[in-house]
């Protein structure tokens, strides 16, 4: 098996980031267009297992589009066309035998604004479970407690599990959404600017949660906040105008970017 490589646009030479057996998600020459307008062009990168990978870049660079493509959320939109492959643990996500619902169970997604359903906290976490399989109430309760504990929310809500989820604060709602996703035991968790609508303290809690979750699953984080990417991620990919500009270990990308474009963006944002 080939070692994991990354094609650098500057010198077109593959760079080895991590051994191939650690690769969880492979994106291979993936392009995507909305109604004929190109949004992603020939993207190629690999996401390592049990690490946090951050996608950064100016707004409209395609980082959210890429994230949504991994979850096949574009299926709902008929004007979207794509080419190239995305593979999850060796399975092409667009393959005929890949059920989209199973893919989405294995690849959880958390959105920019918290979107708990208008139900109780308990029912929110149970939502995904109920879709999958009949569990005895006892078992289900256990999974829910585990998911809420993993999302660092259990202590705050254990006394009001049957109250409406909309009564929680924004930060709690976002952690509830993470717990809801964790409950179906995904392999990958996609986070689309999960803290952009939250206050600084809630943001810190989410970041801490992301670092802790690494031991359980692979995380991909889209953010416009450089410090956040620097604080929580192990690898960072910099996208611009639908193209991958630079990809590497976070330390390298932030302290010693290979390309001027990357440096401009990072320093411009950080100043």
């Amino acid at each position: 098996m080939l070692a994991s490589r990354h094609v650098d646009h500057a010198n077109q030479a593959p760079v080895t980031l991590f051994p191939a057996e650690q690769c969880c998600l492979t994106i291979d020459r993936f392009s995507l267009a909305y109604a004929g307008k190109s949004a992603l062009q020939e993207l190629t990168l690999q996401v390592p297992r049990h690490r946090v990978t951050a996608f950064i870049g100016p707004s409209g660079c395609g980082k959210s589009t890429l994230l949504r493509a991994i979850n096949r959320l574009h299926d709902l939109n008929e004007s979207v066309s794509h080419s190239g492959d995305i593979t999850l643990e060796g399975h092409n996500i667009h393959a005929a035998d890949m059920k989209v619902t199973e893919l989405r169970r294995r690849v959880g997604m958390v959105f920019q604004t918290p979107n708990p359903f208008p139900m109780s906290i308990y029912e929110n976490v149970a939502f995904g479970l109920r879709l999958q399989k009949r569990l005895a109430k006892r078992q289900r309760d256990d999974v829910i407690e585990w998911a809420l504990t993993s999302a660092a929310l259990w202590d705050e809500v254990k006394d009001r599990l049957h109250r409406s989820a909309w009564q929680l604060s924004g930060g709690q709602q976002q952690r509830l959404v993470i717990a809801r996703t964790l409950a179906v035991q995904p392999d990958v968790l996609l986070l689309d600017e999960p803290a952009s609508a939250l206050d600084p303290i809630s943001t810190l809690k989410i970041e801490e949660l992301i670092r802790n979750l690494k031991s359980q699953l692979t995380l991909v984080l889209v953010t416009h906040n450089m410090q956040q990417a620097a604080r929580v991620s192990d690898y960072t990919a910099f996208l611009q105008q639908g193209e991958l500009v630079e990809y590497g270990p976070t330390d390298h990308v932030f302290t010693n970017p290979r390309l001027q474009r990357t440096e401009n963006y990072i320093t411009g944002r950080m100043a």
Partner: protein, 370 residues
């Protein structure tokens, strides 16, 4: 915590596919059924149009005339009231009052036609017959007296103007109008005595040969106007209220008075919206059945007099269709009348809707440009 692999269930996907197919079939079926009304009417009326008996179409002439006459009088009565009320509540009324008045007036629309028709036919018609002169005077005098109140207000001192602000004028005018109504009732018989020898009806008959029927076009117009006012008001008010405020303020900054800003800028900007409101009103007036049935004498006449009755297409359908033999000439004729009503209202409503959507886009551009 051990990670158990949850199995995916093919049943779920089957269910989903079946449900989607069912919803699609059901949805399209319902839409087809609804749109099938037009197809049915054409199908049933077509043999008549294709047959030799085109001459019998003349039967429809008085009905078409009656429909137009009733709708015209109703609009003549309803449009000034509805549009005036819309302009006032969009530009002058205090927001607190508006939040109460608008739903109240919109509630008017919910009053069943059969109730309005009953009041018009059994209460209003006999009363107007006895007080014809007073009714006509009141119809003119009430708006004039509202204007008179405005003139007095303009002449009043600042202190009084502040005490009775224009933004609440709709409330101040209620007792004033009631007083003016009774003043007119009290004075008119005296004038009637002096001018027309005591009875306007006799005078009209003697001088112009005008017949007076208790349930006549005037009554129908008043009652149907009452029924049309809320829908026209509601749509017109929405259109006026959506006029971007910077547009009005710009005009006033150039030295226009508030009233000028309303007439010169807002009316022009909201013109299409007002047009669509009027169209919707016309559609309602043409198709209203129970009011015409109960408030007009239902005689198929070709008379222009507002004091005589008429029979509209809708009323003719309601009266004659249950007795008409299926497939007969009368039956097909009445279905043809229904088809005409259907096409007219459908066309008018579509026009109104298209105009309204175009206007909304225009406002959005204006809003973003400002």
């Amino acid at each position: 915590m051990t990670r158990t692999r949850l199995s995916s269930q093919p049943l779920r996907h089957l269910q989903d596919r079946i449900a989607t197919a069912l919803i699609t079939a059901g949805g399209i079926g319902v839409l087809l059924a609804v749109l099938g009304i037009g197809v049915f009417l054409v199908w049933e009326a077509a043999p008549l149009l294709l047959s030799e008996e085109l001459g019998s179409l003349s039967m429809l002439t008085p009905l078409a005339w009656g429909t137009l006459k009733a709708a015209l009088i109703a609009l003549l009565f309803a449009l000034p009231l509805a549009l005036g009320a819309a302009a006032y509540s969009a530009f002058f009324m205090s927001p607190r009052l508006r939040s109460r008045i608008k739903p109240t007036l919109e509630m008017m629309e919910a009053i069943p036609g059969v109730v309005v028709g009953f009041i018009a036919g059994m209460v209003l018609a006999p009363w107007v017959e006895r007080h014809l002169a007073s009714t006509l005077v009141v119809l003119l005098w009430l708006p004039l007296s509202a204007g008179l109140a405005g003139l007095l207000w303009h002449l009043a001192t600042r202190r009084w103007q502040r005490r009775l602000p224009l933004s609440w004028a709709a409330l101040w005018l209620i007792p004033w109008l009631i007083a003016m109504f009774f003043l007119a009732l009290w004075l008119t018989p005296l004038a009637e005595q002096a001018l027309w020898g005591g009875d306007l009806r006799h005078y009209l008959y003697d001088a112009f040969g005008l017949d007076y029927v208790t349930r006549n076009a005037l009554i129908v117009g008043l009652a149907m106007g009452f029924a049309v006012i809320p829908s026209v008001y509601s749509l017109a008010e929405d259109a006026l209220n959506e006029v971007p405020r910077p547009l009005m303020e710009g005009a006033q900054a150039l030295g226009a008075s508030r009233w000028q800003a309303v007439t010169k800028v807002a009316l022009a900007a909201a013109g299409p919206g007002l047009f669509s409101a009027v169209m919707i009103g016309a559609g309602r007036a043409v198709g209203e059945t129970m009011i015409v049935l109960m408030a007009s004498s239902n005689t198929a006449l070709l008379s222009a007099s507002p004091f005589e009755g008429m029979r509209t297409m809708a009323a003719a359908i309601a009266i004659e269709l249950p007795e008409a033999a299926a497939g007969g000439i009368t039956y097909r004729m009445l279905v043809l009348a229904a088809l005409v009503l259907f096409l007219f209202t459908f066309f008018v409503n579509t026009l109104a809707e298209v105009v309204r959507q175009r206007l909304r886009r225009r406002y959005q551009r204006m809003g973003s440009g400002a």
